[in-house]
């Protein structure tokens, strides 16, 4: 495909810090290569802003190959933009038309406060993970052979699908209730399906859900928006599994 250049108008959320009141600012950006990624386009905008002696737009990014979960952005009304199963860093400008106006907003959730411009604080996810998203068997030093514990293939597959979650928060951003159930469901499922995760299965479900509720995320109403917008295609089947795990744990656990 031949490289094309397009001119676009950007409406970007600018906010000085967590306390200040932000607003949508309009920028025009010319000669954007359709081969560039969305983040490269923002880099190009920032170069333009810097040369104009203006403050560049703050946005999160890291690996730029769709696996780190750092990039976010609510682009033209959708989490990670219009492409399916794609993170913002993997979204290319060829998805946009010449002369198009593109809205870029941060994730909106009480539990994800804005740090600056498009950067939000997603440490709520870290605290949920810390509440139970781990196993306490030794995985370093004298490790057991991985195949010594038999794992049914279908469980391994489902656990792997759940483990594909990169914790980007698109599920929260897309959900009309800002619910984090797809993230927590994926994390609970990932371990619940494997024998190594069974030891703390009960406490994990209880503690992670409690932490999720404390962080101020909304309640799940099963709209299914999260699984559609998830760049890793995590299924809401994982939410149902978390519900089962939680209810079982609540009825069985002595803690």
């Amino acid at each position: 495909m031949a490289t094309k250049f397009i001119n676009i108008t950007l409406k970007i959320w600018r906010q000085q810090n967590s306390q200040s009141k932000g607003s949508l600012e309009t920028y025009t950006l010319n000669k954007v290569s359709t081969d560039s990624s969305f983040l490269e386009m923002l880099d190009q905008l920032n170069e333009q802003l810097i040369s104009d002696q203006k403050s560049p737009v703050a946005f999160d990014h890291d690996c730029r190959e769709g696996i780190c979960g750092m990039c976010s952005l609510y682009i033209n009304g959708r989490a990670h933009g219009p492409a399916t199963g794609t993170t913002t860093c993997q979204l290319h400008m060829r998805k946009f038309k010449d002369g198009e106006t593109i809205y870029v907003e941060p994730w909106r959730s009480k539990a994800f406060p804005i740090v600056k411009d498009l950067v939000v604080d997603r440490s709520a996810f870290d605290r949920i993970q810390q509440a139970g998203g781990f196993i306490s068997i030794n995985t370093s030093g004298k490790t057991m052979d991985a195949n010594a514990i038999p794992v049914p293939k279908q469980n391994a597959d489902k656990a792997f699908e759940a483990a594909a979650c990169i914790g980007c928060g698109a599920c929260v951003a897309a959900c009309k209730n800002s619910s984090a159930m797809l993230f927590v469901g994926a994390k609970v499922s990932q371990y619940a399906l494997l024998p190594q995760g069974k030891v703390e299965a009960q406490e994990r479900a209880l503690n992670m859900v409690r932490q999720m509720d404390e962080e101020g995320f909304g309640n799940c109403t099963n709209t299914g928006a999260c699984e559609v917008e998830c760049p890793k295609g995590i299924s809401i089947e994982n939410i149902a599994r978390m519900n089962r795990e939680f209810l079982l744990a609540a009825s069985k656990s002595n803690k």
């Binding site: 033209n76 309640n219 299914g224 089947e237 599994r241 519900n243």
Partner: protein, 281 residues
């Protein structure tokens, strides 16, 4: 983890929504089966069938228990729903300037609270229309029918009789009084001679009949509109209930979704159709 934390958790709250919601779905089936008596048989037969059904509903102790579970479910489902909506709104204090929710979710799934409110308003109206008359005011006359019998001179005379449980012919005259809603007493000796039926059938038929009720058209439209709201509510709610209970399976979930959509169209559709049929009668 304390019982309070568990009961207040987002998952348990949704489980309660699912259990009460799915119970109310079974209530709808029972209610519809009863309403079918209004249209399956016509004339005096239909009147008898419906009033006998109404008597059964008012006097069976098991139904009594179920009715309290139903009242509780409606109130709980509504209030819990409002509370969840309030919490969910609070979870996103500032919305998006530009959002395309239609790209990832169905319309009914995003408007459950509004659809539910419409259904609640309907339930209150509907109870004021019928439940109030039958249960609180208790001013519905007993089921009586007129027959022509030959008099002493051979000419036909019209006489009114109560429709009773043992089909005993009890004339509707000054000698008979009604006690305890349906008991027919002989006034002079104060003895119960038979038990009649409250004529709820006529109340319902008259309510939707343009000849008897000037506002019949308005009520038919209101009922049909409300059934549309209920249909959209169930379109998402039926299958959503199973998901909340953790019942999701690659093999069965598509089936539950289809069954839910079928249920959402057929059950409210039949309720609406019955009011239209009575109106057109």
């Amino acid at each position: 983890m304390s019982i309070k934390t568990i009961l207040n958790s987002s998952i348990v709250k949704k489980v309660w929504m699912a259990l009460t919601g799915l119970f109310l779905c079974t209530f709808l089936v029972g209610h519809l089966a009863g309403n079918m008596q209004l249209v399956l048989k016509t004339g005096e037969e239909g009147r008898r069938a419906f009033n006998e059904y109404a008597y059964f509903m008012a006097h069976n102790p098991f139904i009594k228990v179920l009715s309290y579970v139903t009242y509780f479910s409606i109130i709980f489902h509504a209030f819990q729903g409002f509370y969840l909506t309030y919490q969910n709104k609070k979870a996103r204090p500032q919305g998006y300037a530009y959002s395309k929710p239609a790209a990832n979710s169905s319309l009914p799934s995003r408007y459950m609270a509004i659809l539910g409110t419409l259904v609640l308003v309907f339930i209150v109206t509907h109870m004021a229309n019928f439940w109030w008359k039958a249960k609180i005011k208790e001013d519905i006359p007993l089921h009586a029918y007129t027959v022509s019998i030959p008099g002493p001179m051979g000419q036909m005379q019209k006489q009114e009789f109560y429709y009773t449980h043992n089909l005993q012919l009890i004339p509707k005259n000054d000698e008979i009084t009604v006690k305890n809603k349906t008991d027919l007493y002989m006034k002079s000796v104060n003895i119960k001679v038979a038990e009649g039926y409250v004529d709820l059938h006529t109340v319902v038929m008259d309510f939707f009949s343009p000849k008897q009720n000037e506002q019949a058209m308005f009520y038919v439209l209101l009922y049909v509109f409300s059934m549309c709201a209920l249909a959209f509510h169930l379109w998402h709610g039926f299958a959503s209930g199973f998901q909340s209970l953790g019942l999701n399976h690659r093999r069965y979930t598509p089936l539950i979704h289809s069954a839910g959509k079928l249920f959402a169209v057929i059950v409210p559709g039949m309720f609406a159709l019955i009011t239209i049929l009575i109106y057109l009668k």
